[in-house]
Symmetry: C2
Subunit: 315 residues, 2 copies
């Protein structure tokens, strides 16, 4: 079975990792948001691809889920002593990824090729594809003005009130090599429980990806549980964008795309509204979607894939 997962950072990486570890193995391709990518200290940093890769390689920081495990902070501590900014954490191990990626990007190599080689080094047998090799930096429209994503997200701790998003130059971006063909070959596409506004929307905005997905059976897992995001500003963004933060709003956001929707058992009461909003044209699975550990990831992934298999037979 061939699965394509769309993922941003932590939430997406968790489910992608669960799918990756299913037995029997599925053939997995993860298409990852690169809207969060930015330059810091002269280094090209790709937070979401790194989070996905570190998790698939089992070398993530088990507490934060982003960053690397057994990390050391000596370099960052000394940067801080020199008066440098420490709002974005760069561990000694993580730095190796940024250094070598920056070196190769500066030599003109595409991010997708570099990511593929890193995955090989890290023993990852899934494909991890950045959504594009072009620069599509996410800008957040806020009450404090237009902010580069990491400034909004990390430096200002998502405090500014959001009123829109710009995926800069996305209209001229091309899907990275393999993105469209992997979608084409997929039996099932899973939209991971990543932030719909800033993790999934950038992927869907890359010209060609939406069209390719529309020919597929697509499932989405809600990142909103009981009106709240497990982590990050997704719920806050729904509110600030004038929408109820709920699994219903998530499903409606994907309404022209999804065949199936997975929500948390806490949100059982919303099922009726979702079915009605989709005029009955939606399959819904209720599950324990909060992934607290690796076992949770694999369990949820198993339920999602079994659900997907049913839809493949039904639809």
């Amino acid at each position: 079975m061939k699965i394509v997962a769309l993922a941003g950072g932590v939430g997406g990486a968790k489910l992608a990792d669960g799918i990756y570890r299913l037995i029997p193995k599925v053939e997995l391709t993860v298409i990852v948001n690169t809207g969060d990518d930015f330059t810091h200290f002269g280094l090209n940093i790709s937070p979401d691809p790194d989070t996905v890769c570190y998790n698939l390689a089992g070398m993530e920081n088990p507490e934060t889920v982003w960053g690397r495990g057994s990390e050391q902070w000596e370099t960052m501590d000394l940067v801080k002593k020199l008066g440098g900014p420490d709002w974005f954490s760069l561990g000694n191990r993580d730095l190796a990824t940024h250094l070598e990626r920056t070196r190769r990007l500066n030599e003109g190599e595409p991010l997708s090729k570099i990511t593929c080689d890193f995955c090989e080094t890290w023993g990852i047998s899934a494909s991890v594809l950045p959504m594009t090799d072009d620069l599509v930096p996410t800008l957040v429209k806020t009450d404090q003005g237009l902010l580069p994503f990491q400034e909004y997200f990390v430096k200002l701790g998502t405090k500014p009130e959001v009123n829109g998003f710009i995926f800069q130059d996305v209209e001229s971006a091309k899907p990275a090599p393999g993105v469209l063909s992997e979608i084409e070959k997929a039996d099932l596409v899973v939209i991971c429980p990543s932030n719909p506004w800033v993790s999934i929307a950038p992927i869907l905005s890359v010209p060609g990806i939406m069209e390719a997905l529309k020919r597929k059976i697509v499932l989405a897992v809600s990142p909103i549980i009981g009106g709240e995001a497990v982590r990050g500003p997704a719920a806050k963004m729904y509110e600030e964008m004038g929408l109820q933060p709920s699994a219903l709003s998530v499903a409606e956001g994907y309404d022209d795309l999804i065949t199936g929707f997975i929500l948390d058992q806490k949100d059982q009461a919303l099922i009726k509204d979702i079915v009605s909003s989709f005029d009955g044209q939606i399959w819904i699975l209720q599950a324990d979607t909060w992934m607290k550990n690796r076992q949770d990831r694999i369990r949820l992934a198993g339920e999602v894939v079994i659900f997907g298999n049913q839809l493949i037979k039904e639809v």
Copy 2:
């Protein structure tokens, strides 16, 4: 007493450090070669200013004299595992310097200001001035073609045969703020035992510096002892440039500049030739110039400064 020292990396840093630690204290400004500066992994690296600063701060690696003490290599080890180049060593502590310098350079700050701030953080009371804030990369003409300095020096281990040097764009470079005025105010200028071809020549090539030095009492310490360099390719370069590697050749290279010359006691036999080459217009001090430890640095520095003081009275 106000001393300006001209220095490159290891040899220069050692003597500058010795002068810095003299008691009673002298007022020291070190003007440092930036011809070795280069970009690696997207980071701006200034090897000679760093070596000088790390030594003045007493935080150098005591074995190599370049790099930082108690260094960790985790990042570099992981870069190597990713297939990245490891010919230029970047320790975790050292990386902090490169990261923060790169960040500030990318924001448009001049190297001299950044270096000054770093010195303050590191508790260095001497002034360390890069020779220029402009880019003046040294290119080495060799039998393997024109090579960027670090490629020749570190990557190829100084193996290619040298036939010339280019200090790119030096004709349009400006001395960094303070360089000319510090020379102007100096009682004594000491050319440290750095490589005359690639450490001192770049400094002397920056427009304005040579003219300012010619109004001063200038001493040079030979980096060649008994026909050999303590470290690095200086002797090899003299041979390949068609000159005898000797203290005599060093002195002759500075002939329109120096009032005094310090050579090693091993080279006593050359004194006659040097005096004759300078038509008697040179003062010579013979000393133990091989600095094996910090005590050696201070001892040699003391002898150089006493010698300089004599010349100030005599000349």
